[in-house]
């Protein structure tokens, strides 16, 4: 397998809920809770889950756009170091932020030796290598900038990579030519450069946002629901554009979306999240053929298939996603799970490798795939 590009260890992001007269902290929203993610060079990882499950937050934390409450983020790590740190982080069990800070301090000495992107100088290097495309192209482009300025901005700040691996700042005609080449590749033409964002349709705006993101030739690109605001025909255009760009510039993608059909079309591996936890990680084909976690099974069965003659077995999940501020104890999915037993309400399942390259966090993962455990009519426990 190719080299690990991003390794997140014990990543947590809690948002405080402020309230009352004095603005005290009343509690925390556990948006991302103890997530370990490895992303390999050159692959496309799909990150999928319902709204509010923390997928966007995870994307932002992986780019260090949001500072994690605890956890380490490695970029291009040495395996020995990252493995050591991840062993250490397994002991971090509390979920109270104040205690977390204390306990983590003990680990920090080790972590410091590692390639951690947490200080400003390193961050600047990091920024040149990672970029993000946001969901809503209307609000992510400055309405008062010309398209050429929008695309030029990251180049002016970070420069473009040259053949010898260094970065060169360009300006004037050279810059304009570079942008023209860029925009041609996006399927737009040169007169579009001298217009404002509001003159474009949704699909075109998303192309501009992608052009801006890849103008500095990043190695890692986070795509945060890039097509969910678009029509299917335009979505197909954007997806094939992204595929073409990935091959050309050898980028690694993290594709965040709630649309499983899109995930299937673009990604090599899939991470399924539920309420701030990773519940299943697998190769795409394997996940769609044999989903293990009951949540993934329900999610897959809920997608409408554009084929009226195909009769499907829909597992309709009852109820809504519980609030991430007050997640259920034990396995977070047990309130909606049809396989849930007593143990699920108490003990949190660990993410285990069930078969090669396919990990899931469920107490009954093995029983479910072997067919020994049959689902109940309705979930046993509910909130």
């Amino acid at each position: 397998m190719s080299k690990v590009l991003i390794d997140a260890v014990g990543l947590r992001k809690y948002f405080p809920i402020k309230g009352g007269v004095a603005g005290r902290t009343l509690g925390y929203v556990y948006a991302v809770d103890d997530v370990n993610v490895k992303i390999y060079k050159g692959e496309t990882v799909g990150l999928v889950g319902e709204s509010g499950c923390g997928k966007t937050t995870l994307g932002r934390v992986l780019l260090d756009l949001a500072e994690p409450t605890a956890g380490v983020l490695f970029y291009n790590p040495e395996d020995s170091v990252s493995n050591k740190v991840s062993e250490l982080y397994k002991n971090l069990k509390t979920n109270k932020p104040s205690e977390l800070k204390k306990e983590e301090k003990k680990l920090v000495e080790e972590a410091k030796k590692a390639d951690v992107y947490r200080n400003k100088k390193r961050n600047r290097e990091f920024r040149k290598k990672v970029q993000i495309v946001f969901q809503d192209p209307v609000s992510s482009l400055d309405p008062r900038m010309l398209i050429k300025d929008i695309i030029a901005e990251p180049i002016i700040i970070n420069g473009v990579p040259t053949e010898d691996g260094k970065r060169k700042k360009i300006k004037g005609d050279e810059l304009l030519n570079y942008i023209k080449e860029m925009i041609g590749e996006m399927g737009l033409n040169e007169d579009h450069l001298f217009r404002f964002p509001h003159e474009f349709s949704g699909g075109q705006r998303q192309r501009i946002a992608i052009a801006r993101a890849i103008s500095i030739r990043p190695e890692f690109l986070v795509l945060d629901e890039p097509t969910s605001a678009l029509d299917v025909s335009v979505q197909a255009q954007i997806l094939s554009l992204l595929e073409h760009l990935q091959q050309k510039y050898e980028m690694t993608y993290l594709f965040i979306t709630h649309n499983l059909a899109v995930i299937r079309a673009v990604s090599d591996r899939v991470i399924v999240m539920y309420l701030g936890k990773v519940v299943e990680v697998s190769r795409t084909d394997d996940l769609f053929a044999n989903p293990i976690h009951p949540y993934t099974q329900a999610l897959l069965s809920a997608i409408p298939v554009p084929d009226p003659e195909r009769k499907r077995n829909i597992v309709v999940l009852s109820g809504d996603v519980p609030s991430p501020a007050n997640p259920p104890a034990g396995c977070r999915f047990h309130t909606r799970c049809r396989f849930a037993e007593e143990i699920c309400t108490k003990e949190e399942p660990k993410l285990e490798e069930i078969k090669e390259g396919h990990t899931a966090a469920c107490h009954f993962a093995r029983e479910i795939i072997s067919g020994q455990k049959k689902p109940a009519e309705a979930p046993k426990f509910s909130n």
């Binding site: 029509d231 025909s233 197909a236 409408p304 195909r310």
Partner: protein, 477 residues
């Protein structure tokens, strides 16, 4: 199959500074009884404009239904839209409104909307009023359109008065608590149909005399309300336009008395209005019918306290409160997650089986169409380009646009399929392309497409296509 709603040559335009946007051009379709018709297309192709045109919700200015027919039963809903405004063509188009006709039409449509045709919107949060509780909003639609139902329940409940009195005199229950306590639940179990306990508390306190006086008043109201209902039903069944006109005049006169602003003020001021209380009680059973867990808690909550899926259930219960003939669902699940989408679609299907309402389902998701609809209309740039039974359309798509659309969806069940794209964008409808509106993006374009607008051709039974590719074949045969 009997057609409930027939739309013929519907034409809607928006008059804006840049020119006239021809949003709908001769849209025709019909919805059978108990059928689910799907309308699918890209953004800006006129799906929502179709829905809004049928219910006359197009904001005017700038929009305006300029022609066509929408038949609900025997009644043409668009019968006098031409009198509403005159177009004066000088350098730019000017509109001269006839406000008297517009006002009367508005009053008339208030009786249609919510009762015969109701709608579910894409954003449930925006569709509900943030300052009223859920029960008040459900009660509102019942108060406006279904007084008969409320009054009938009250009447049936009054039959149990003597029983209630017996219990009181027997000393089993001494005082009725203001809250719904255990005692009241006991009564509810014993005397079936007693929906308005609180109303009866008042009656018991006032005694039999007060009751008969009050009940007389409500009996009269019931009589009037039944008359009103009969009038409305006659409007839809009567084939004679002149009688229709008379009925509309009478209805308009009545509905002037019941206006919406008055109604909401009444709700604020008089919380003890028995009819309103009855409406709130009824809203409980409506919420139960849409599978809301803990309906009693939801009744008292405000829209911001509920999740998207719950809110959509509330809007569905409002839309179906009066058993409408046609339900228009405008992208009901677009703002929801897949798992919640599955819940809502299942709910819609179940309710449709139970009530038998015809549904027009507007969506851009072909997967949703395949799973819920009987028939599909594919729209492109203000035209219905293809229409067929759902199986026929997916098995045998004819129009190049439909084919392109089907090939551009990523499939969960078929991963190896490469995505094909339709080049280009939806055209600007101020200056739509000459001839077939799809020709600039069509892979099969030939000379005739650029000049002549295709007409609808039936390729097989119930399968119509607007495309020149098929007109030649039909002629040859």
């Amino acid at each position: 199959m009997e057609d409930v709603l027939v739309v013929k040559n519907l034409k809607t335009q928006f008059f804006i500074y840049e020119g006239v946007v021809k949003a709908l051009e001769d849209v025709s379709f019909s919805v059978g009884k108990g059928e689910v018709l799907g309308i699918v297309g890209e953004t800006g192709c006129g799906k929502s404009v179709t829905a809004y045109s049928i219910t006359r919700l197009i904001p005017d200015p700038p929009g305006r239904v300029v022609g066509g027919e929408v038949r609900l039963g025997n009644l043409d809903l668009m019968r006098n839209i031409k009198d509403e405004a005159r177009f004066v063509q000088k350098k730019r188009i000017k509109i001269k409104h006839n406000y008297r006709v517009i006002r009367n039409n508005e009053l008339f449509f208030n009786t249609i909307r919510g009762k015969y045709i109701s709608m579910i919107f894409q954003e449930p949060m925006a569709a509900l009023n943030p300052v009223y509780t859920v029960e008040d909003q459900i009660a509102e639609t019942l108060l406006l359109h279904n007084r008969t139902r409320l009054l009938k329940i009250m009447k049936s409940a009054s039959g149990h008065l003597s029983e209630l009195e017996k219990w009181r005199d027997g000393g089993e229950i001494e005082i009725f608590d203001d809250e719904l306590g255990e005692e009241i639940d006991k009564i509810k179990k014993t005397a079936r149909g007693v929906e308005s306990i609180r109303f009866h508390q008042d009656l018991l306190i006032e005694g039999a005399n007060g009751f008969s006086k009050k009940m007389q008043k409500y009996e009269e109201m019931l009589k009037k309300s039944i008359e009103h209902d009969e009038l409305e039903d006659r409007l839809l069944t009567d084939p004679n336009p002149t009688t229709q006109q008379e009925i509309i005049k009478r209805l308009a006169k009545e509905s002037k008395k019941v206006n919406l602003i008055k109604m909401s003020k009444q709700m604020k001021r008089n919380k003890k209005d028995p009819l309103l209380i009855e409406g709130r009680r009824e809203s409980f059973s409506l919420l139960e019918s849409v599978d809301i867990p803990n309906p009693r808690g939801v009744l008292k909550s405000y829209p911001h306290e509920l999740s998207g899926g719950m809110l959509q259930r509330v809007t569905i219960s409002i839309a179906l409160a009066n058993n409408p003939k046609v339900l228009i669902a405008d992208e009901p699940t677009t703002a929801l997650d897949v798992t919640v989408q599955a819940q809502i679609l299942k709910l819609l299907r179940d309710l449709q089986d139970a009530i038998g309402t015809s549904i027009i389902l507007i969506t851009h998701d072909l997967g949703v169409i395949a799973e819920t609809c009987n028939r599909v209309a594919v729209m492109y740039a203000g035209n219905i380009v293809e229409m067929a039974e759902v199986k026929e359309l997916f098995r045998n798509p004819k129009h190049p646009y439909t084919i392109g659309l089907l090939q551009s969806i990523p499939r969960v069940d078929d991963p190896n399929k490469t995505l094909k794209t339709i080049p280009g964008n939806v055209p600007n409808l101020i200056n739509p392309p000459q001839g077939c509106r799809f020709h600039p993006r069509c892979p099969f374009v030939f000379d005739r497409c650029r000049v002549e607008k295709p007409v609808s051709i039936e390729v097989s039974k119930g399968h119509t296509v607007e495309c020149h590719l098929f007109s030649g074949k039909v002629n040859a045969e």
